[in-house]
């Protein structure tokens, strides 16, 4: 990230050249170390470096904007998702209802049926407009996720914690079959491939 301030190294050299914008602790580091005021002993310099680094960490964590994410962005994203689910369901029901009515009305007189079908087709076209709204809502959610990713990525870079997999719980769900949900297009198998998989494993006996 080119717009970020340099990350202070936890070192004697940094401690003697940088202080940051925050006020010093009420009790001086020299006093904490049992040293006279203005001392530049190694322990005071190390304490200064640690204090600078903690100030730096506070700044970086503040830049995450956790409060804004939790109070504004996430609730809005959740509402958008609810609207998408709700809109999709309503539209599906409208389309299904119209289609079922068209099938059920097949016994009508031809002219009346023609007008009836035209009316139901219009209802289907209107219901399909949900796609446009859903796309707009999805883009807002996408924007929120990208913002969060950007901020977290920046923090990880600044505090040099990009690669610490041992600290993260990547344990999948307890079920032996993980990642429940529709597969992404590049991971999904179509019906033909699924049939082939079945054929390849025809000798599996569940009993």
């Amino acid at each position: 990230m080119t717009d970020s301030p340099p990350r202070p190294a936890l070192s004697i050299a940094y401690a003697t050249t940088a202080r940051g914008p925050h006020p010093r602790p009420t009790r001086s580091l020299e006093a904490l170390a049992g040293e006279p005021a203005g001392s530049r002993s190694p322990i005071v310099r190390e304490l200064n470096a640690a204090a600078d680094y903690l100030r730096f960490l506070r700044q970086e964590i503040a830049r995450l904007g956790a409060d804004e994410i939790a109070k504004e962005r996430i609730p809005v994203a959740i509402r958008e998702l609810e609207c998408i689910v709700d809109g999709t369901e309503k539209s599906s029901n409208a389309i299904m209802g119209a289609a079922e009515e068209v099938i059920a009305g097949a016994g009508m007189a031809p002219e009346a049926y023609k007008a009836f079908v035209a009316e139901k087709m219009t209802a289907i076209f209107v219901a399909c407009a949900f796609q446009d709204l859903a796309s707009q809502r999805a883009r807002r959610i996408q924007s929120t996720l990208q913002t969060m990713e950007r901020r977290l990525s920046r923090l990880a870079t600044m505090v040099n914690t990009r690669h610490v997999p041992d600290l993260v719980d990547f344990t999948p769900a307890a079920d032996e079959v993980s990642e429940i949900g529709p597969a992404f297009p590049d991971e999904a198998n179509d019906q033909q491939r699924v049939d082939e998989i079945f054929e390849e494993h025809h000798d599996i006996d569940w009993k």
């Binding site: 369901e89 599906s92 029901n93 299904m96 289609a99 079922e100 099938i103 079920d175 032996e176 079959v177 993980s178 990642e179 429940i180 949900g181 529709p182 597969a183 991971e187 999904a188 198998n189 179509d190 019906q191 491939r193 699924v194 998989i197 079945f198 494993h201 599996i204 569940w206 009993k207």
Partner: protein
Amino acid sequence: MGFETSMPILVVDDYQTMVRIIRNLLKQLGFEDVDDAADGVQAMSKMRQRRYGLVISDWNMEPMTGYELLKTVRADDELKDTPFIMVTAESKTDNVIAAKKAGVSSYIVKPFNAQTLKSKIEAVCGM
């Protein structure tokens, strides 16, 4: 068509629109005796009360998934021979194989059409 269309069928899906879609497709194929359940628990309850000729189940439901329902059915001496078709968006290879190992009779990937449903029912029910 070769179907025993009087056969009772249980459709298990928590998404009512999908239940409706499958019902309509089954109706087109001539099946009129179609019952439904919103999850595996409801399905098991219904299966204990009535013997179905075929179960068509989604995978992803709570509190009991279609996969868990499948394993429960196959572990039940009374129900274990019930033909069971999984109709799901779970199309990853591992999941398909897991379902096969659990005893699924056939596997249909969403979205699907009437022809696919018809051919799988024919294959599973030996028609």
